[in-house]
């Protein structure tokens, strides 16, 4: 029986999705596909950490400096994930982005709120306000990488690998995506934790992998493993 004719429930079992590249930023450390990309002790400020990562990554993107912390983290994580692979073979409309975090845009909300706290110094700014939505980081990633497919931002108290997997699986099952960036982008003050993975269908993946990194089946266990082990 042709795969497309099977009921959805059975098709799901046949889904063979892989994590073909990943990046984890946490504790002044950046891991890309099992390898340490960046580590520096004693960086106390988020701003210093993320600027150092940006410089080491050597990506020339002046708009980076205008972004809010969540967008900076998500943008760099996506850059690092896509650096060792390519999504150019996919139609832009068939690449999705599914991100999540705990605090939505609260870190930047506090910054916008500072500009309206006092009536004597009332200066709300569009360049801050626009970042008071969690999905703006998705917009930034899409602009840089010409991604035009399904996009959503989900909120959960703590990292929820099952939620991400369920959501992304539905996108693949419904043939809405052929590749999908997915992950967690949490920043609050000087604390940040971000995981970004590229999910592709085993039969259609665009690269054969980087030396030393074995593709992982895309499931909640592996997402939880990456975010806790690194």
């Amino acid at each position: 029986m042709a795969d497309a004719m099977l009921p959805l429930y059975f098709r799901k079992i046949n889904m063979d999705l892989l994590i073909t590249s990943y990046c984890h930023l946490h504790d002044n450390k950046v891991i890309v596909n099992d390898r340490l990309f960046f580590y520096q002790e004693n960086i106390l400020k988020f701003a210093d950490f993320i600027k150092s990562v940006y410089k080491q990554e050597n990506v020339n993107y002046p708009k980076f400096y205008k972004m809010d912390p969540i967008s900076k983290v998500g943008f760099l994580a996506a850059e690092l994930v896509l650096k060792q692979t390519t999504i150019e073979g996919y139609h832009p409309e068939k690449v999705g982005v599914v991100l999540s975090n705990s605090s939505s845009s609260l870190d930047t909300d506090i910054a916008h709120n500072e500009t309206i706290k006092n009536r004597s110094s009332y200066f709300p700014s569009p360049s801050v306000f626009v970042y008071t939505l969690p999905n703006i980081v998705i917009g930034e990633i899409c602009i840089k990488n010409k991604i035009k497919g399904e996009n959503v931002f989900l909120i959960s108290e703590t990292f929820n690998g099952k939620l991400l997997c369920d959501y992304v699986n539905e996108l693949f099952i419904n043939e809405r995506v052929e590749a999908c960036l997915c992950g967690w982008v949490e920043v609050m003050g000087n604390n940040c934790n971000a995981l970004m993975v590229l999910v592709e269908h085993a039969g259609r993946k665009q690269n054969e992998g980087v030396p030393g990194f074995k593709f992982l089946p895309f499931n909640a266990e592996n997402l939880n493993l990456i975010i806790t082990l690194n």
Binding site: L106, H112, I143, N151
Partner: protein
């Protein structure tokens, strides 16, 4: 594929506390947007559509009494009250859905309890209440929903994404029922932000009109109860036939110049529903009344060969309700399907977009079987969803 049926719904806006009250007001041409001079909301007078506070409190007292809750009304925020009243009303007749382990609660909001950042609220509520998952937990606990709510915060398309997500999880068999609720309050936080963009209209907004000068903000809440296992004796059901999102990949605060990406989402939704453009009877647009949004939307509609289809925007009645918009505007559109009535696009007089849209300028009877709802938002996101009458 399993059809996903709409069982019941609720709308709360300045126009009323039920879907019926809101639709009756729209039928009468009532505009809920007015000049509000309240220093707690903005230093100078501003156009807003606000939910009536006294009624909100008395409705909430009713709900507390119904559930025999001992917690005082003051322990719930304004937004939590809105959500709870809305879900309570939508669950009337089927209250068992809440406690069913096969039910998914989906919450859509852009800013949640954002007013708690303001000094005057700090002592009343804990900082935790600013987190959207805590808002979800308050609602979940109140009704006894079994599963952790799924929370979607995706700018102004959140409501449509919430419906789309719920329908996908029902179709796949992951759940049997879904309660999808969306809401946002008016706050100085949001008003000051849109004002800094110079995006607010000095008079009630005029979607697609030549003289439109920006949007009007509103507060609102809406709930839709969906099921994948409709009871046989239910009246002919209205289904979610297809839905999709897309991203412009162009600008974080300005819509696409071409409308191509919104048209991609519309085409994809039609493809999933196995429908041609000719099958669409009516479009409930995003229609914010900003210059660029309405222009972009008209181009997308043209690209999809849908120019002849009657369109309206409900934002001329109750303003832009952010995380509630996709839900309450879908519910209003569904009432058009049920009643075969097309509602006037409030604020519209003279066409002010390049593509010759068929904007509904007067309320009229019409046979409506299939309707398309669109939404677009900051971050370059677009969404389209199709509702179909059996």
């Amino acid at each position: 594929m399993k059809p996903v049926c709409i069982v019941n719904d609720n709308i709360i806006t300045s126009l009323g506390f039920t879907t019926a009250e809101n639709i009756a007001a729209i039928k009468n041409g009532t505009i809920g947007i007015r000049t509000v001079d309240d220093p707690d909301l903005y230093p100078s007078p501003v156009q807003l559509s606000l939910i009536e506070t006294d009624q909100l409190f008395s409705k909430f007292a009713e709900v507390l009494q119904h559930y025999k809750k001992v917690s005082p009304a003051a322990s719930f925020t304004r937004l939590e009250k809105m959500f709870i009243i809305s879900i309570y009303d939508a669950l009337k007749g089927q209250p068992m859905i809440a406690g069913n382990p096969r039910t998914l609660l989906v919450i859509s909001t852009t800013k949640g309890n954002i007013n708690l950042l303001e000094n005057r609220h700090r002592t009343t509520f804990s900082h935790k209440r600013l987190y959207l998952w805590e808002l979800g937990r308050m609602i979940q606990t109140f009704f006894g929903f079994v599963n952790t709510p799924l929370i979607i915060s995706n700018a102004c398309i959140s409501g449509v994404v919430a419906l789309m997500t719920a329908s996908r999880f029902l179709q796949s068999g992951a759940y049997d029922h879904a309660v999808v609720a969306g809401g946002d309050i008016a706050s100085e936080f949001v008003i000051s932000g849109f004002q800094s963009f110079q995006a607010l209209s000095p008079a009630p907004c005029k979607p697609f009109d030549l003289n439109r000068t920006g949007l009007s903000l509103g507060e609102g809440c809406g709930t839709m109860v969906l099921t994948a296992i409709p009871e046989k004796n239910e009246e002919p059901c209205i289904t979610i036939a297809g839905a999709a999102t897309s991203n412009d990949a162009n600008h974080i605060s300005g819509p696409s110049r071409t409308g191509q990406e919104l048209s991609n989402a519309i085409n994809e939704a039609m493809k999933q529903a196995s429908l041609d453009p000719a099958a669409i009877d009516y479009i409930s647009t995003h229609g914010t009344a900003t210059l660029f949004n309405d222009e972009m939307e008209s181009k997308a509609i043209e690209l999809c060969s849908l120019l002849e289809v009657p369109v309206n925007s409900f934002k001329g009645y109750w303003g832009h309700t952010l995380g509630a918009a996709g839900l309450i505007e879908s519910i209003a559109a569904i009432s058009s399907l049920k009643d075969n009535i097309l509602y006037r696009s409030a604020g519209f007089e003279t066409l002010g977009v390049q593509a010759p849209l068929n904007v509904i300028s007067a309320i009229r009877k019409d046979q409506i079987n299939i309707c398309l709802k669109t939404a677009s938002g900051f971050g370059g996101c677009n969404a389209a969803i199709i509702f179909q009458k059996d």
